[in-house]
Symmetry: C2
Subunit: 347 residues, 2 copies
């Protein structure tokens, strides 16, 4: 598998990105990484690893900045590292891409260069959370791509998310829930109530409304919401993980000798805890619904996070997720008529 | 101060409620608790504490169930324990009330019996979170009362929340933020962008958009959002606290002797951590904007949670919050014209 990596995207690019590519290339000698970016800045960072035969550099003269207007930047900066990653996929020179850059620009680039999978109304970002029991994972989507959604978009997120969890996490029949402010059908907004009615007609294992606490419960594998709510929830949970770790750290610092010894003895548990709440372990958010494999890594990604995002891209490409989603969306046309051709409740 | 306590509201009512009232009455002999509910069920639970002079029982023959339709139940069940709590406030026999019952019914009861503070468009539920630094607390509102909001509602939540944090937490000039999916003004929905424009005209210390991670950062004391998003965030964070505690517990159970010893030595830290993430410590969500003091305790409240909710009601009544909010809303009329009389952007 050939992976295009945006060497210039992210808060610590290219310094944190290139070592991440090296880590991956060393661990997966059978797969290729193409570092896309300013050759004059990228090559020196390779150092002694310049000889890795599965690591190459593809020069790109421009950079999409974190604060660029997403759509305009991707249109104008035709030789930006981000856009070139997508062009490599389109030209058949890469099978997947990874960027830690401006997530809006990543989605804009995917839409402009790769386009949507046939039948997909709105591609979405997805975020994976740890769950206490059950399959141990929960996929939340949309995590930020579509701020304003229609009921049919939410219903389709359920279809797309189910395809991801089935093919990537190996869950035979993922349970799908619609995020709301209560479990009763009378709860929610006009948007969620119309989406609820649509999803009740689906052939998914649909649980109806679920609440924020269910994300970690292990009782549901796919949680559907609009990109505004999803992004807020994602960042609130990220913040809570950091806050809880910080609370424990501060408490230990202030504590006496015996507690400090206790903390030392508990190091393996804290390491496991940190792995579980650490975004770096999860390897970024997949773009779901675009016609190609793209992974958005966290802007603050360190080399390990980049390595894990490349691993996620590798597994996603190998799982043939794009074909899987295309099939699911086509089958869903039986209860979710394609836009413009069938009756849509939000008309 | 005289506190009316809904003895019949909550998942474990009246069994968990009455002991909570006893705990409070013992700790605060200068204040009165009126247990409102089915006398035949409440009195036996008092046992040896029936002699407490600051604890009385007021019989109410009906109960609002957790799954009752909120508004209808409060209208029809005129002798329900919940409604009687509000009637006691209205008749001047109580200064504040606490219920662990159906939160929708609590709000409906407050609106029907007490009404809104003059000038308040929509009362809200508020939720308090721990923050790592700064003032150590962050108030999120609306946490679930108003699923569909207008820009002026969100702007007024900022005013009401600021008054709460100023008078209850003693923060001289609370910072107010509007919850969104990114910090740039271009982010958010049509609703949040209009609310952003309104709040920029305010005399509050308004930071603009804040993100989910900022709730715990200590960089903002009041976070404003609609009741749909707020309720989802509240429950997601509650779920994450339980999940993190569960992860550590499971890891320790599976670990070797030295780690188990470490966990034992760290007991004080874990206790502090648990206090910080435990809703029971916070004493419930205040109703803000209704003409009286009401506290909604968690449905799963244990006696300690009820005691803390009574403490919160006591402090709120003593802080004269209702008058404080009335003054703030009146002053805000300079930039937030009262509904129906001034130009409203959402017209």
């Amino acid at each position: 598998v050939r992976l295009a990596l945006d060497a210039m995207g992210g808060d610590h690019a290219p310094d944190a990105i290139v070592p991440g590519a090296v880590l991956f290339a060393q661990q997966f000698p059978a797969h290729q990484v193409i570092l896309v970016g300013d050759e004059a800045r990228v090559r020196p960072l390779l150092g002694a690893n310049a000889g890795l035969t599965n690591l190459s550099v593809r020069h790109a003269s421009e950079v999409v900045a974190m604060d660029d207007a997403a759509s305009a930047a991707i249109r104008k900066k035709r030789d930006s590292s981000l856009r070139v990653c997508f062009e490599l996929i389109r030209q058949g020179e890469a099978d997947a891409m990874v960027s830690a850059g401006n997530s809006g620009a990543v989605m804009a680039g995917a839409l402009l260069v790769l386009g949507r999978i046939r039948g997909v109304e709105r591609p979405a970002f997805a975020a994976l959370f740890p769950a206490l029991k059950g399959e141990g994972r929960c996929l939340l989507l949309d995590a930020g791509a579509n701020v304003e959604c229609k009921p049919s978009h939410l219903a389709q997120f359920g279809v797309i998310g189910e395809a991801y969890v089935r093919s990537l996490l190996g869950v035979a029949r993922p349970r799908v829930g619609l995020l709301s402010n209560g479990e009763e059908d009378s709860k929610g907004t006009a948007l969620t109530r119309d989406a609820l009615a649509l999803l009740r007609k689906s052939d998914l294992d649909f649980l109806g409304y679920v609440e924020g606490k269910d994300i970690f419960s292990g009782d549901v594998e796919v949680v559907v919401t609009d990109g505004f709510t999803g992004n807020i929830v994602l960042k609130a949970l990220e913040g809570s993980g950091m806050a809880f770790a910080g609370l424990i750290r501060t408490a230990v610092e202030k504590a006496g000798v015996s507690e400090k010894l206790g903390a030392l003895l508990m190091k393996p548990t804290f390491a496991a805890f940190k792995r579980m709440v650490d975004y770096a372990e999860y390897g970024g958010a997949p773009l779901l619904g675009v016609d190609g494999v793209g992974i958005v890594a966290h802007g603050r990604s360190n080399p390990k996070a980049i390595k894990n995002a490349l691993k996620a891209a590798l597994h996603t490409a190998e799982a043939r997720l794009t074909q899987e989603i295309a099939g699911s969306v086509q089958r869903a046309a039986a209860w979710l008529p394609p836009r413009g051709r069938g009756a849509e409740p939000e008309a």
